[in-house]
């Protein structure tokens, strides 16, 4: 056990799995960097240094710098996965999904079903998501609702370095295509992470805190935001459960429904654009399955339905923050109090 950053946790997961299984290969734009160039090899190790050092241990046979050709190399990874390798392809910014979506949703995601259960596609696609980097509209999106929408894909959104390592190892060992999303703002965040290899199963939510008044379900980086809000609310005697689903496909609906049954109030925090996102999905689930448990309307804390702006003051206004979560929680508490007064 030692303190590791989000970046180091992911790097360690890749390294340990590559040592364990020679079929694991890593590919993407500048995952090493410096290919064919006169300077250093492994010049970047990924645009934000996440795959640094893999090249020296595993060589260019297994750490493949690709041309700027997302359709070709994501499709190549899907084809390799279906024929015996276990590729981890890096899309860099998840926004680049736009360039190669067909290979993901019409090809990799559907092989198994279309081929009558005879195909196995152990593919992992890593990508960075999220706002807060002043990277403007084409480098700041979340997009995980789009992947979650596609049957055949699994979607993993770790909220901490510990989860990142265990979930990535699980993703690499998983026999289905997995989209693994990393928040670029979190790479330097540190916590205690075991040195040895471990897995965290998909579809099992993590209760990052347990309380009695309100359930907050939060996705990815929003888990931290939710806990910050919960810390403040605690001081005012409002006790929150914070649920981190860890994976949006599969989704741990049981834990979410259990928590709502306990608290009777639900706030969902999702950084993805507000229409047809994970918050609306969970909201529909709870409205259908736990309507009687609800003591107040569900509230969703999401960005507005606009692209991510460049100007820092606008971007800060765009991303959900602890203050907005806090006020949503207070609103569901007030509603319940009013209802109580009326009866």
């Amino acid at each position: 056990m030692s303190k590791k950053s989000f970046r180091q946790a992911i790097n360690e997961a890749l390294r340990q799995e590559m040592r364990r299984d020679p079929r694991v290969v890593v590919m993407g734009e500048d995952v090493a960097g410096g290919a064919g160039a006169p300077g250093e090899d492994d010049a970047w190790g990924g645009v934000l240094g996440v795959t640094k050092g893999l090249l020296s241990e595993f060589g260019r046979e297994r750490v493949l710098d690709t041309p700027l050709s997302e359709s070709a190399y994501i499709g190549c990874a899907a084809g390799a996965a279906a024929t015996g390798l276990r590729p981890v392809a890096e899309l860099m910014f998840v926004d680049f999904l736009g360039v190669c979506f067909d290979q993901i949703f019409n090809q990799a995601a559907k092989f198994r079903y279309m081929f009558g259960g005879r195909a196995v596609t152990p593919l992992v696609i890593r990508a960075m998501y999220g706002a807060g980097f002043r990277a403007a509209s084409q480098h700041s999106q979340c997009l995980y609702p789009i992947f979650t929408h596609i049957p055949g894909l699994k979607v993993v959104i770790p909220s901490s370095p510990y989860d990142a390592k265990g979930l990535l190892i699980q993703a690499i060992r998983d026999d289905d295509p997995v989209i693994f999303l990393e928040n670029k703002v979190q790479y330097d965040q540190e916590e205690e992470v075991p040195d040895e290899s471990y897995t965290i199963p998909f579809g099992e939510a993590n209760l990052t805190r347990e309380g009695t008044d309100v359930t907050i379900v939060a996705i990815g980086r929003m888990v931290q935001i939710a806990n910050q809000a919960a810390d403040r609310l605690e001081k005012d005697g409002i006790s929150c459960t914070v649920v981190d689903p860890r994976t949006t496909s599969p989704l741990d609906t049981g834990t979410i429904l259990d928590c709502v049954a306990e608290t009777g109030r639900l706030v969902i925090v999702d950084e993805a654009s507000p229409r047809c996102n994970i918050a609306t999905d969970i909201s529909a689930l709870v409205a259908q399955e736990a309507f009687d448990a609800l003591r107040a309307p569900i509230r969703m804390v999401c960005p507005p339905h606009v692209p991510v702006p460049f100007a820092p003051n606008l971007e800060d206004l765009y991303v959900p923050n602890a203050a907005r979560v806090e006020s949503a929680v207070r609103a569901v508490m007030r509603h319940a109090a009013r209802q109580g007064a009326r009866t």
Partner: protein, 321 residues
């Protein structure tokens, strides 16, 4: 050469403006005051200017993430660009786009682009508009050696060729897609690729303004005459990293410094025009001084310009909703 004195002064001024704009951004970015990603065009000026000297407002270009030079060459307001890069309301995009998305449709500048290979299909559309509406305009895609490997680019070559679109693809090959060498990542040659789609193509020295200008004239004249698209493969280099903050460890030690000494389109231009007695050194010195002042003013304005209002977050998503 067919360039008169005014043209030559304009060409030099525009290249100098781009260089100083970028050199100043390099300094200002290091202070932490500029948000986000900035990709500098310093070293590549002759390409943007050599091509855009042939264009007017009815002609369209698309650019790349390394777009400041193309914007300036196409006539975008430098103060508006600077304010945009600082995320100010007075910016060309109201502060919503930033360096990677600067655009001015009124100048025929359809945007820098954060997606590598995002531009070539768009330029087929701009060329189609010109063709259908018979505007006489042409459409130019600037793209890098990295984008030359995108499917969108190769599909655009095909589409532009079969429809004989008034388009020109300018492949600015600065040797690196991010940190990966084009000698590793590009199979075959840029010009042979174009020829495979039935397009004429030529390779030019991107440090030589006159070479680029001449090649662009041929390609643009052909497009305007309705004879279809062409490709120009411009060999050049960038003086800075892929983005500001890039340690450039993939480059040879001293590579960027050597380029500045040996391969500088501004120095080459100065030598060419003064040796041929087309311009006096004092003409060029005067431009240098005036550009320094212009950039100074532009940065001052940008720094003191107002931020976007909170309500601006919600505007401009749709025309009507």
């Amino acid at each position: 050469m067919q360039l008169n004195r005014e043209d030559l002064l304009r060409a030099y001024r525009t290249m100098r403006l781009i260089r100083d704009f970028e050199e100043r951004l390099h300094v200002e970015f290091a202070t932490g005051e500029i948000p986000g990603f900035v990709h500098l065009y310093a070293g590549e000026e002759a390409s943007a200017v050599g091509v855009c000297m042939h264009l007017g407002d009815k002609d369209r270009i698309v650019s790349t993430h390394r777009g400041h030079g193309h914007c300036i060459a196409k006539g975008c307001d430098v103060d508006g660009m600077m304010s945009e890069i600082y995320g100010r309301k007075a910016g060309l995009c109201g502060g919503k786009g930033g360096s990677m998305h600067i655009a001015d449709l009124s100048k025929g500048m359809l945007g820098a682009n954060g997606i590598v290979g995002g531009g070539p299909p768009l330029i087929c559309g701009a060329a189609l508009t010109a063709k259908v509406l018979k505007t006489g305009g042409v459409a130019i895609a600037f793209l890098g050696d990295g984008a030359s490997n995108q499917g969108t680019t190769l599909e655009s070559y095909n589409l532009a060729s079969i429809w004989k679109l008034p388009a020109v693809f300018v492949v600015e090959d600065n040797g690196y897609a991010e940190a990966t060498s084009s000698s590793y990542a590009v199979a075959g040659s840029q010009t042979e690729r174009a020829q495979g789609f039935g397009m004429p193509a030529q390779t030019v020295d991107g440090f030589d303004f006159f070479a680029v200008h001449e090649a662009a004239r041929t390609a643009i004249d052909r497009a305007r005459a309705g004879e279809g698209p062409s490709l120009i493969h411009v060999q050049l280099s960038r003086y800075y990293g892929h983005f500001e903050g890039d340690g450039m460890t993939y480059r040879a030690p001293g590579e960027a410094d050597r380029l500045r000494t040996e391969s500088d389109c501004l120095k080459r231009f100065r030598a060419q025009v003064t040796e041929a007695a087309l311009l006096e050194a004092s003409d060029l010195d005067a431009i240098d001084r005036s550009v320094t002042e212009q950039i100074e003013t532009s940065v001052r304005k940008a720094k003191s310009a107002a931020l976007p209002a909170d309500t601006d977050l919600m505007t401009d998503v749709y025309v009507m909703y």
